[in-house]
């Protein structure tokens, strides 16, 4: 009943067509890119303009209803799932507000698709560097929420390094501008805090991003190995050489085979234990010299063959196999889990061997396809979630893999975010005081914690704060400070 009333009020803002209430209509929003998690929103609302979005957020603030912002729903952490709260879909806000080629920046609405921005920037000799594998579907707003990466962030940096300013509506309805699209900004880096806040700090309405000049030369190489260990060690040696490749991707035999059997076949050697997809870019003269060095490192490290893409079509084909590898895994089993841990790049060979041991112990099928250059692993396990025994084995294997990565000095997530999926792992790497500090930061943006509730930090890590005298002392502290 309450939901119907709310839906009707929301429809008053966005129109009937853009509010969903029936379970059958909401079904499609029950999961994101990680189909193992399912949560049913109470209502879904899809504003079409910036003003409608602000009005929706203000209405939700007035009635005190929590909400979950969502872009294209391609996320891989269960972060965009609404558990009996309002789902706020932003994909209709897809206006490119301005492109300023001279100053190399673009201002877009949050629903603009990553690749759509690149289609506009490309003919101007520019590119938007962060390129998550879901670039053809994912939105800039979602990229901001997750601080998305992608293969090329090895050299060019993640979303954080490419956003100049954001106009956002905070959960209480206040509209703020974070950062600056023309010049420096002093004060706290609230822009930096907002990027990667997984929809917990507010809703981006306008995002101004940096565009990068396209490098004059790009060379894409495929090195194939008969041993996983050799491929891992060559990765470490390329990084140690000081060359910063534009991208350095790793695919193991299990991944190669599934890609080659799919419509995304890229011509990877099906009998290789692993391949490295290495891209070097920069000035023509310098790149050729780097290609020679990388070729030598691969050969010295045991590569069977190193092939350089001869033309753009061949280059794109090599990339297609990599970018569509997750999708190709749909051939193996109905469900897929994927991890996102990051480890120091010198530990790759050792951790991959540990992952293989864990997979064998629990009899699960691991496909490794990942951003080797920055140590960002993506062990994928295709499985059948309807088989309780298999699900349990997958779950145990995932836990052990995460433990191994953390023990190697790593982090639990490099680009997918914590969301729901890694909620139970975050205490492996942060102390209760650190988590409490993060909760306080969240509260500065969203004191009622209505935006994307229950994500990123386990609730029990936050409750401590409200109970301690610190919160009440804060007010006293203000007064003392004023007279100091």
């Amino acid at each position: 009943m309450a939901n119907e009333r709310l839906a009707s009020d929301l429809a008053g803002i966005v129109g009937d067509r853009f509010v969903l209430l029936r379970p059958s209509e909401l079904l499609v929003y029950n999961s994101d890119g990680l189909p193992g998690y399912r949560r049913k929103p109470s209502v879904a609302v899809f504003p079409g303009t910036r003003d409608e979005t602000i009005e929706v957020v203000r209405l939700l603030a007035r009635v005190g209803v929590p909400f979950v912002p969502r872009g294209a729903g391609t996320g891989l952490s269960g972060g965009a799932l609404a558990d009996d709260v309002v789902l706020l879909g932003l994909h209709r806000l897809k206006r490119v507000i301005s492109i300023d080629a001279e100053n190399r920046r673009a201002t877009v609405e949050p629903g603009v698709v990553n690749l759509a921005l690149n289609r506009i920037a490309g003919p101007l000799g520019l590119l938007y560097a962060p390129d998550p594998s879901s670039e053809a579907a994912c939105t800039i707003g979602g990229n901001v929420a997750e601080n998305a990466g992608g293969p090329h962030c090895l050299k060019y940096g993640v979303t954080l390094n490419h956003v100049l300013s954001i106009t956002a509506v905070l959960p209480d309805g206040e509209v703020v501008t974070l950062g600056s699209d023309s010049g420096e900004r002093e004060g706290y880096d609230l822009l930096g805090a907002f990027i990667g806040s997984e929809g917990c700090f507010g809703v981006a309405l306008e995002v101004t991003v940096k565009l990068t000049k396209k490098p004059p030369a790009v060379r894409t190489m495929l090195a194939d190995f008969v041993s996983v260990d050799d491929a891992a060690r060559v990765t470490s040696s390329i990084i140690a050489s000081g060359i910063v490749p534009a991208a350095l991707e790793f695919m193991d035999n299990a991944t190669i085979r599934v890609v080659e059997e799919s419509i995304y076949a890229a011509g990877y050697p099906a009998d290789a234990a692993a391949v490295l997809l290495i891209e070097l870019d920069g000035l023509t003269a310098g790149v050729e010299a780097d290609v020679a060095v990388v070729r030598e490192l691969c050969a010295a490290g045991g590569a069977r063959d190193v092939r350089v893409a001869g033309n753009e079509a061949e280059r794109l084909r090599l990339w297609q196999g990599r970018k569509k590898a997750f999708g190709a895994m749909g051939r193996l089993a109905p469900h897929l889990v994927v991890q996102d841990a990051v480890i120091p790049r010198t530990r790759l060979a050792e951790v991959l061997a540990t992952i293989a041991r864990i997979a064998a112990t629990h009899r699960v099928h691991v496909c490794n396809v990942f951003h080797a250059g920055d140590g960002n692993l993506h062990p994928n396990i295709p499985y059948n979630a309807d088989d309780p025994d298999e699900s349990e084995r997958v779950h145990l294997a995932m836990q052990e893999i995460m433990r191994a990565c953390v023990d190697a000095g790593g982090s639990i997530t490099g680009e997918h975010g914590v969301g729901l999926d890694k909620l139970n792992y975050i205490e492996m790497i942060f102390s209760p005081d650190s988590l409490d500090a993060m909760c306080r930061l969240r509260s500065a943006f969203d004191p009622d914690r209505r935006a994307n509730p229950g994500k990123v930090i386990p609730i029990h890590s936050c409750q401590e704060w409200k109970a301690t005298p610190a919160a009440s002392r804060a007010t006293a502290g203000t007064t003392a400070g004023a007279t100091a």
Binding site: D100, E102, N103, C153, G157, V158, S180, S182, G183, E184, R185, G187, Y188, D189, L190, G192, A193, G196, S197, K213, I239, A240, G242, L283, T284, A285, V287, A289, P344, R345, T346, G375, G409, G410, S411, T413, G414, G417, V418, K422, I426, I429, F430, S431, D433, S434, D436, A437, M438, L441, A444, I457, A470, A474, G477, T478, A480, G481, A482, A484
Partner: protein
């Protein structure tokens, strides 16, 4: 950790403290109402360094010189080199978000910090980020601490991304037109040229002279990479204008040229407006002949270094021009701070953040403007 004990004691007694790195950089000049100083000078040294990972973890009080020695021994560097002396600490560099000319090629310190450990205003030790090069776990305390001027905590440890030193480097200088329109064309030519410089800085004639170059308005550029990349860039650069090779020490001289001065400020805005911004600064500061100026061409930032007080006419012009440019003071007398930049953290979210990390408001009170 002694820093933690000192902050805890201060918090217990509500005693305001000044957080200092190595106390070698002059204070920004904003009045800090502190009764004692907590220094990180003795909290220094390398905690963890695996050269092949190109990351290093050091204590907050580690000097930039020590960091440079440790990484240099492995053929690596942190390409920050902020304006000022290498005796400053890495903790202060992060806390003040200080950058130097290499921000053109490598980004600012914000882009290079991977993890921090911080002692909060309650004396709690918290960590953000980690020791790996890519990390989105939890909310971003690293960015929050960067540029917070010690008001959210004392930065006790920092993990940084390093780069390998290139096998070849080349410093060059080029005389530039002084007319704003032609200067703008020159900038465009440089930014569109097939060069990927580490640094690309415009220098006023007196600054050029100060660092040993001909006394003209010059562009100073740094190229690095393999032999082929550097020589291709040299060829592309000399095509744009009459260029000379310059000694690499120019960069350190440029960084040092600001020390001991009273007023330092930056004007920024859209990069394409740099030539006009430079012209405005030049005309405004015409009377103070000793003012040195330089600008990051790619980033569109003009930095002005005045050894003495500015005339009141100049100050009025600067205040009036804030609608066209963002003006950020690095160092200035108290009255100028009040005039130009009363407070950087008046908004609701910033105020809440401040109280969340320093409920008693004891850390560097006043350094970001009056506490309210």
């Amino acid at each position: 950790m002694i820093i933690q004990e000192r902050v805890r004691e201060a918090a217990a007694q509500s005693n305001p403290v000044r957080i200092a790195g190595r106390s070698t950089w002059l204070s920004a000049g904003r009045p800090v109402a502190a009764t004692q100083t907590v220094s990180l000078a003795d909290h220094s040294g390398v905690v963890d360094y695996v050269p092949n990972d190109l990351t290093i973890t050091v204590r907050g009080g580690t000097s930039l010189a020590e960091l440079s020695r440790a990484t240099g021994a492995e053929g690596q560097w942190l390409p920050v080199n902020p304006f000022g002396s290498d005796e400053g600490s890495i903790g202060a560099t992060v806390a003040t978000a200080s950058s130097g000319p290499f921000a053109h090629g490598f980004g600012t310190i914000r882009d290079l910090v991977l993890g921090v450990e911080v002692v909060t205003g309650e004396g709690k030790i918290i960590r953000g980020g980690g020791r790996v090069v890519k990390n989105v776990a939890g909310f971003d305390l690293v960015r929050l601490m960067t540029g917070s001027w010690g008001t959210l905590g004392a930065i006790s440890e920092v993990t940084l991304r390093l780069y390998a030193k290139p096998s070849h480097r080349l410093t060059m200088a080029m005389e530039t037109p002084t007319d704003a329109r032609r200067l703008a064309e020159r900038f465009r030519g440089l930014l569109d040229a097939p060069i990927i410089p580490f640094a690309l800085e415009l220098l006023s004639d007196n600054l050029s002279q100060r660092i040993g170059l001909p006394p003209r308005q010059m562009i100073l550029v740094e190229f690095g990479g393999n032999a082929a990349a550097v020589s291709a860039q040299r060829d592309a650069f000399v095509k744009i204008g009459a260029a000379i090779e310059a000694p690499p020490e120019c960069w350190d001289k440029l960084r040092a040229a600001t020390s001991g001065t009273k007023i330092v400020f930056r004007l920024s805005g859209l990069p394409a407006g740099l030539a006009a911004r430079w012209d405005f600064a030049k005309q405004t500061l015409e009377e103070s002949h000793d003012t040195l100026m330089h600008a990051s061409i790619g980033r569109g930032i003009v930095r002005c270094v005045a050894p003495d007080a500015l005339s009141s006419t100049a100050i009025e012009k600067l205040v009036a021009a804030r609608t066209n440019h963002t003006m950020i003071l690095e160092s200035a007398p108290a009255d100028l701070w009040k005039r130009i930049s009363p407070s950087a953290i008046t908004d609701r979210v910033s105020q809440s953040v401040r109280r969340a990390f320093d409920p008693m408001m004891i850390l560097n009170p006043g350094i970001l403007g009056p506490v309210n």
